[in-house]
Structure formats: C-alpha cells, structure tokens
C-alpha cells in the first residue's frame, strides 16, 4: 500500500496490536479522537477501551506507568503528544526505564516504546518544535530511533515494540505527510541499530536522520560531486560501522541534524569518525545543525532548521579542502 509516515505509524500499531494481545496504546487524546496527528486513528474502534486508553494529562505517569506495565510483562506503546512535553518525564526515562535491567541484573526489564512527534516547521506554538535526540541519546540503556521514510517507520516501529529494551521513537512530524511510498502490508521489521545507505557515492559521506533526510537528499542532487548519504535511522545505539566504512571510502564527511549543534549527536558522529577513520580524512568533518538557541516561535522557525542550500554549502566546504 502507499502510505505517509504518519499512516505507517498507524499501520504498525494496527499490525502489532492484532498480533500481540499484550500491546497497550495510551497517552493524551490517543483513543477517542485518534491522536492530534491521527497516528492512533481507529485503534480504539478495533481493539477496545482496555487496550487503547486516553490518559490524564500526566507525562510523568504516562512514561512511568509504561515502565511498570513493561516490567509486568505488557508491551506498552505510550504517546507523548509533542516532544516539548517529554521533559517532565525525563526523570522516568533516566531513573527507571533505562536502568531497571541494569539494576536488577536482568531480572526485570522494560520493553516499552514512547512515541512522540518531534521537530519544527508546522506552525505550532512554543514547546511543540524541539529536536532533543542528543539529550535522550545521552541516557545509557535507552534506545533512540528516528525514521525518515514510511517504509522504515513501520518496520522500525514494529521492531521497537518487540525490542527487549526501552525505545524512544521520534517521529519527524514536519514530513509526517509530505510524501507517500510503498509500505508492505502486514508484518516486517527494520532492525534497530542499523543505518541505511540511501544513496551510494564516492566523493563525500553525508550522515543524517529523521526530519532532515529529505532536505539532505535534495541538497546532494544539486552537488557537482558524488555523495554517499547515510540515514542513521537509530540514533542510539549508533551504527558506527556503516558510517566509518563510508568515510573510509570517501575521505570526507558532513553530518546534518535539526537539533542544537553543541553537545548534539553530530559531535558524537564526528568523534566516532575520528576514532576509526581519522587517517582516511581529507578534510575536517562539517556539521550542519540547528543553532544553540531555543527554536524560534513560528514567525522565524523556518530559519532555524537546515535547508538544502545550507547543507550544500557545507558539503562544498568539505569537498573544497
């Protein structure tokens, strides 16, 4: 079937709820109204009010209760309505979900998913536009996934729900409905921890993920050189090997992400390239990122996240040395 990213989320939820009675979907406005982006549309009708639950407005309890449900053997898929509302629940991710396996030597685990739309560019209010994957990827024991295509969205979400560890599933809402592609019916997985090479090339490696992939792919089409584009898909654990092998081939690299530059995931990608492929580098690795500022309110948010000319400029810098 042809599906957008948000339709692929919905399809994955329908697929896994039908396959596994232990899957429970909950969050604010997910049941009766089907989610503010309609990601959970028709789940209530199909699977009933015991398994599709509108919760009180309580991010701490949503994430904390997901952890408890998972420890008890359920497969919770919690929704945080916008990424800007996750911070109150940061404590539950850090203190409980991410370390219950470690602190009980594997006796208790938290196989759970927290889904949330992230990123700027949908003309929403303040606190509706953040890309804080760097902060969440800094939590040991938590997996962080950010798909960029409908096909990967469904396969990664199915793999995330079945994963034995907690997964923060960051959905790129700016491109929720920006394109359709063929998404297989029924069951399939895209494995966590594996990057995808979106475009093969010899001259420069461009690494990105999630909301920035379309702009990145658009930028390299304008390039007078042959770029290889790596979509990380999983931010943590990060597929170092795919990145490093590509850089060893091309000798040049650019990392593109939407969140703030300082202490962002891009810095870690650069460090891994330095660790494993420093002697292959022909030029310093470039970073194209959001600024070290809050995301501007909607009148200027379009300046904040990288656009193709900005990405292209950085790639040309990497090639110029």
């Amino acid at each position: 079937m042809q599906a957008t990213i948000v339709e692929a989320v919905n399809d994955a939820l329908h697929t896994e709820m039908a396959a596994d009675d232990d899957v429970v979907v909950f969050g604010e406005d997910v049941a009766e109204s089907g989610g503010v982006f309609r990601a959970t549309d028709e789940l209530l009708e199909e699977f009933g009010a015991d398994r599709v639950v509108d919760t009180p407005l309580s991010e701490i309890a949503i994430v904390g209760a997901a952890t408890g449900l998972a420890m008890y053997g359920k497969r919770p898929v919690a929704e945080i309505q916008f990424s800007g509302f996750l911070p109150p629940a940061f404590d539950q991710l850090v203190t409980n979900a991410s370390r219950i396996r470690w602190r009980t030597r594997g006796e208790l685990t938290a196989p759970m998913v927290v889904r949330m739309p992230y990123g700027a560019g949908v003309r929403a209010l303040e606190h509706h536009s953040e890309s804080m994957e760097g902060a969440y990827a800094h939590i040991p024991g938590l997996k962080v996934v950010a798909p960029s295509t409908p096909h990967d969205t469904k396969g990664l979400l199915l793999a995330s729900i079945r994963d034995p560890d907690p997964v923060l599933f960051m959905e790129p809402k700016r491109i929720y409905r920006s394109f359709r592609e063929d998404v297989p019916e029924g069951d399939y997985e895209v494995p966590l921890g594996e990057a995808a090479v979106r475009r093969e090339g010899e001259d420069v490696t461009v690494v990105s993920w999630g909301s920035m992939m379309p702009a990145t792919l658009e930028a390299v089409e304008e390039l007078d050189a042959d770029a290889e584009v790596v979509d990380l898909r999983t931010i943590s654990p990060l597929d170092t090997e795919t990145v490093v092998e590509s850089v060893k081939k091309t000798g040049r690299a650019v990392v593109v992400h939407e969140g703030p530059r300082s202490n962002g995931v891009g810095g870690d990608v650069v460090a891994r390239i330095n660790d494993e492929a420093l002697m292959y580098l022909e030029a310093p690795v470039e970073r194209v990122t959001g600024f070290d500022t809050p995301v501007p309110l909607l009148s200027m948010e379009d300046y904040y996240f990288p656009h193709p000319p900005r990405i292209l400029d950085a790639i040309e810098n990497a090639l110029a040395v």
């Binding site: 604010e28 406005d29 009766e32 109204s33 089907g34 503010v36 509108d54 919760t55 009180p56 407005l57 309580s58 991010e59 701490i60 309890a61 800007g84 509302f85 109150p88 003309r123 929403a124 209010l125 303040e126 606190h127 509706h128 530059r261 300082s262 600024f291 070290d292 500022t293 809050p294 501007p296 309110l297 909607l298 009148s299 200027m300 948010e301 379009d302 300046y303 904040y304 656009h307 193709p308 000319p309 900005r310 292209l312 400029d313």
Partner: protein, 387 residues
Amino acid sequence: MTENAPTDHPANAAVSAGDPRFLTQDDLTVDTHQVVGPDGSYDADDVPDLDAEQFRDLYRWMLTDRVFSRRMVSIQRRGELGTFGSTRGQEASIIGSAYTLQPEDWLYVGRAWTPMFMRGVPMEDMILFWRGIEEGQQSFAEHNSQIAISIGSHLPLVAGLAWGMDLSGDDAVATAYLGDGATSTGAAHEAINFAGALGVPALFYCQNNQYAISLAADEQTGANTLAQKALAYGMDAIRVDGQDVLAVYEAVSEARERVREGEPVFVESVTYRLDAHTTSDDPTRYRSDEEVDAWEQHDPLERYREFLKSEGLWEDVDHDAIVDEIEAEFDAALEAANEFAEREIVEIFAHVYEEMPPELQRQYEEFVDLLDRRPEMCDFIEQRPKG
C-alpha cells in the same frame, strides 16, 4: 457560599458512608457557589459590592473577550495566524476572576487572554504572540504576565513568585490560571503542596472547562471535584459557577484577600469551552452537538444581562455601540500588528544569554554570511512575520 465539610476524623460516621474507618470522597460536600442563577434570579444580599460603573465594566470586558475570540478565529481561518485557542463560553470565568487582580499582582495564564488587556497589554501584542513573534511575550512580561504553553509547567514557578513576594514583604499575589487538565500534572501537585506548606501568597485559579483537548473532565480524575484536591495540600478551596460572573468575582475577591494574608487558595471555576481546543482541533470527534447546545443555553453574557436588567443598569448599556468600539479596537490592533517591522536574523540568537557566548556569535555570523552568499535560501525560508 460553598461549604467544605471535611471529616476531621474517619470515625465520624455521620458524614462517612459505608465503612467509617475509610476516608471517602463522599465524606466531603463541595457546593458550587452561585450568585445569579441560570434563570437570572438572585438574592440581593449575595450581590458583590460594586458600583454601577463597575457592573457595566464587567459586561464590557466580557464582550471584549467574546469579540476578540471571534475575530481571532476569523483571521486564523484567513491564514493570518498560526493557531488560536478561543475562550468563547468562559467569559464570566475569565473576567470575573481577572477583575479582582491588581497591577502589582503577577499573572500566569492558560486559556485567558483578555486579562492581559485588563492589565494594559495592547491588543496588538496578543496578535503578535499568536503570530509567533516573541515581542508579544515581552509585552506581557512588562505587565507582570505570561502565558504558559506547556500545561502545568508554570505552577511551581508561581509558587516561587509568591514566595518572593512574601520575602520582600510586598502586598501582592501571584496568580496562576490553569485548566482541568493541568491538575493531573506532577507540577500541579508539587506546586500546590509547596505553596500550601510554605504559606506563600499564591492564588491557583482553575478553569474547569470540561475538556483537556478531547478528554472530558470526569475522565481526567477519579476525584469528585477539582476543588477538593487542594485540601490534601493544606490549602482552602472554593468551587464556583464559572458562568456566573458575579459569583466568580466574589469568590476570587475573597480568595485574593485570604492569599494576601499568606493563606494560599485554590479556586475551581466550573465553565465550558464552547469552541475547539485550538483552530487545529475538531471537537466533533469527541463530544456531541447536544452537549454543546446544552451549554450554549448557559451563556454567561446572557445571564449577566438578566442581572443588569433587574438592577436597572441595562438601559445605560449600548450593547451594539460597545461591540462596534471593540471591533474598531481590534481593527486598529490588527493594522498595527500587520505593520510590525520585519525582523532581523539576530532575533534568533539574542536573549539566549545576557552575553552571547563566542560559539553562538560564530553561529550567528556564519548564518548571516550564508544568507548573503546563498540568496536561494529565501526559496526555502518563508519568513512569516505576520504569522
């Protein structure tokens, strides 16, 4: 007046249904304070002590609230705003409460915009806010006010503001408006308990408008009322009919006086959000037309008009002329907002810190340089100073 009658001992079988060893919610009787009934009737002894001009003033502000929401929804539909949350149906709840506040008070609101105008914020700046222009918030701050977007996040902050007032010995109160949904956040529980424990001049004004986006208030909590939640934190509470502007005014006035004395108060105002959560929301997905129609019959302006007529004050109110004046004020505000100067790139980078760190300065300069070298960036950036 509301009578909160908590059992002081669980063995008080007179008020405790069932097993007397257990405290139950039914131990508590929470009335809803009302001055003017739905049919317009009232007891003259219950009417708050306001003069004729103040009574008319309340009506004018309620009309301002209604007209502002209508005009904002209208310009949003024309693409001139990002989104907007209408307050229609909540005018008595919003105006009756805000009318009690003094300029030295601080005000952190959820769904309540006209209180800003009552404090002197130009209407133009509220339009700028909904167009995603930070200077709107700057204007609110100049009037000791802010809008909280992340639900419940402002409540601990208001406890801190109140604490500051207490430490400084200032005669003022810190007021938080919140919704039914916000009472479920962890921040609400911590803030209300904190303010109650410290005894600081914080006023928590909860507009229970029956919905947190799609979730009905009776699904938000197992508690019979929101007002009773305050008691567990050692704070007095009052529940009031939010469609009755005089009841709201009287309850919040009295609450404010108690708060000034260092006794924080929680007010639950029972009201109804007649319009969508925001212009992005479709309420037909989660509530019936019949329910909305029933609440339309509890129009707070209509009820207050009946009161003004009974008092002989209505004949001095030229409703149509007031509407025309508010419309003209909105037109002028919209024109001024439309002429707000195009913003500079530095606005993105300014005010993150008092002094811009070198790395941020570098990011700013690189970006300005890029925009200069790559004019095609304009094809991707749709600057939207007008929302």
